[in-house]
């Protein structure tokens, strides 16, 4: 399991209810279910991934986070997880408000465009950065709304979204990934 999921699972208490938005093949959900007795649900856009999740005994709904989050009632989960997909949405602002409507807390991770390697790539090569977390070319990337850790913090401040204290320390320059626990 990738390190990001380990960090996310450490942020989640045992016996809670978690919705994993864009749950992929269900690796994180399965871990939370088995190790932390978490009651998990997933939303996933890929049919293949939904199949994989089903064979793991996970309850996953095939759907699109931008269209299908409305079906979940207010505060129906303790945590809603969104791992590295915020930047791919047409309307990330709406998705964030949905996450905070459905979950008492939301755990959001973003590939950090302020990471020093990203900055250096753009500075020295003059082309769009390609890194481990940003592997695509500008013309085929699914990412529409890249931001930096600092951008995300600024956004939360502007929208009066509380960044939970259990968040990782704030490392705009040195982290490839920003991991935030936020609540309304």
């Amino acid at each position: 399991m990738k390190k990001e999921f380990k960090i996310i699972s450490d942020l989640i208490e045992n016996n809670t209810r978690v919705l994993d938005v864009g749950c992929g093949d269900g690796t994180l959900m399965k871990y939370l279910k088995d190790k932390k007795s978490v009651d998990t649900r997933g939303l996933e856009i890929s049919k293949k991934n939904v199949q994989d999740c089903t064979s793991k005994g996970l309850s996953v709904i095939e759907g699109n986070a931008e269209k299908d989050l409305h079906q979940f009632p207010n505060l129906s989960f303790d945590y809603v997880v969104l791992s590295q997909t915020l930047q791919a949405f047409l309307d990330p602002e709406n998705v964030i408000s949905e996450l905070l409507r459905i979950g008492k807390k939301a755990i959001v991770t973003i590939p950090n465009f302020g990471y020093w390697k990203v900055r250096l790539h753009l500075l020295l090569k003059g082309t769009m950065p390609i890194t481990k977390n940003l592997p695509n070319e500008w013309y085929n990337t699914p990412n529409l709304h890249m931001c930096t850790i600092k951008d995300f913090v600024n956004y939360c401040n502007r929208k009066n979204i509380k960044i939970n204290s259990s968040n990782l320390s704030y490392k705009n320059l040195f982290s490839q990934l920003g991991i935030f626990v936020i609540e309304k």
């Binding site: 649900r41 309850s59 709904i61 759907g63 079906q71 009632p73």
Partner: protein
């Protein structure tokens, strides 16, 4: 062995109050089972059949000598593995494969009941079949499943008996029969009623049944089970055993010949009055209205784990209607998974060899057993 002996029948003593207000009792429910009920009695799956189905899910149907309607899905080593699970399926009341229906004989008059049979609902069908649990002394089913009208029954079952099944797999169905589907059913009914042999449902005392009407009803319905693409791929404009158009109303095209065959084969195994009653039950199905406009209330107390399946090319029970059920389940905080299977075979996909569908059902059952 005559046909009657090939049909297992349970006589339901307990009175059943129907939605129409009438009460029926001492009526037959024909059923079939596959596999073995284990000692803990926790491996039973109740399968609900669709409009034209019956209790003979798999293997060879002893009445028609054709393969059971869900042979791709159910059987030894298959997705619903009869080596592992105990499968029960009953002919719905209103049907014509041994359960109480319009072709049953009225003991008092010694005549077929015909249209004196009460109008029944999906709810009535499910309540009648619930007696099978008592009969087999099963406290809780492992699963309930079915496609189309079978899926509607699965939804109704969980709504009526929230703690009587561990899992449920409603397939290609809806919580509320749409205007389009009512319209299509009405087309079929009117075709039957327009056949003078129908005779207000009293055709059993005469030599001839409304076969033409029933065949047309089946032809029209059959089109709705397919998709434009599957028709195009299978038939296109191919001609039937001829090189050129005959400038007549013969079946010039293969699709015409195919539909005529479907219609004619159907009348050999299906009763026209049953077709009226069962389509009516489907039209009356509205779980949303039954729960005062909020479908979530139907599943409020359910601990059942749901897996909803739809098909991309199904325009009869489209993904959108299946998703409404998913949304309602989520709103009720129920445990639900959902997948839309890629298939260009239309509504019939749930009966056919669609590998992603078969593996989805297999994976769900195996992961939860």
């Amino acid at each position: 062995m005559n046909n009657i002996e090939k049909v297992k029948t349970l006589i339901i003593d307990e009175p059943l109050k129907l939605d129409c207000g009438q009460t029926i009792s001492n009526f037959p429910l024909a059923y079939e089972t596959y596999g073995t009920l284990n000692e803990k009695k926790d491996n039973a799956i109740l399968v609900f059949h669709a409009l034209s189905g019956d209790q003979f899910v798999t293997g060879t149907n002893p009445i028609t000598n054709k393969s059971g309607w869900w042979s791709y899905l159910v059987g030894p080593g298959k997705a619903i593995d009869t080596n592992k699970f105990f499968i029960i399926c009953a002919n719905v009341i209103g049907g014509c494969m041994g359960s109480y229906g319009p072709s049953s004989i009225d003991q008092k008059t010694n005549k077929t009941i015909g249209t004196n049979f009460p109008v029944i609902t999906i709810n009535d069908m499910v309540n009648a079949q619930y007696n099978l649990l008592n009969f087999f002394k099963i406290d809780k089913l492992f699963s309930v499943t079915g496609g189309s009208m079978g899926g509607m029954q699965a939804l109704q079952f969980v709504a009526n008996f929230p703690d009587k099944t561990k899992t449920a797999i409603p397939i290609a169905c809806t919580a509320s029969h749409s205007a389009q589907n009512i319209a299509l059913n009405e087309l079929g009914r009117q075709a039957i009623m327009a056949d003078k042999n129908w005779n207000n449902g009293n055709y059993f005392n005469t030599e001839s049944s409304p076969n033409n009407g029933l065949a047309v009803a089946r032809m029209a319905a059959h089109i709705t089970y397919l998709s434009k693409k599957s028709l195009e791929d299978k038939f296109g404009r191919k001609l039937q055993e001829r090189d050129s158009l005959k400038f007549s109303f013969d079946a010039d095209f293969q699709i015409e010949s195919y539909l005529r065959h479907q219609g004619n084969a159907f009348v050999d195994r299906f009763d026209a009055n049953s077709y009226l009653y069962i389509t009516r039950a489907m039209d009356y199905f509205d779980l949303i209205k039954q729960y005062k406009g909020n479908l979530s209330n139907a599943f409020k107390n359910s601990k059942t784990k749901f897996f909803i399946i739809s098909f991309t090319s199904d325009w009869l029970y489209p993904t959108l209607e299946n998703k409404e059920v998913v949304i309602a389940l989520n709103a009720a905080g129920a445990n639900v998974g959902f997948i839309e299977i890629n298939s260009d075979k239309g509504h019939d996909s749930f009966l056919l060899d669609v590998p992603d569908f078969l593996s989805s059902v297999r994976n769900f059952l195996e992961a939860n057993y």
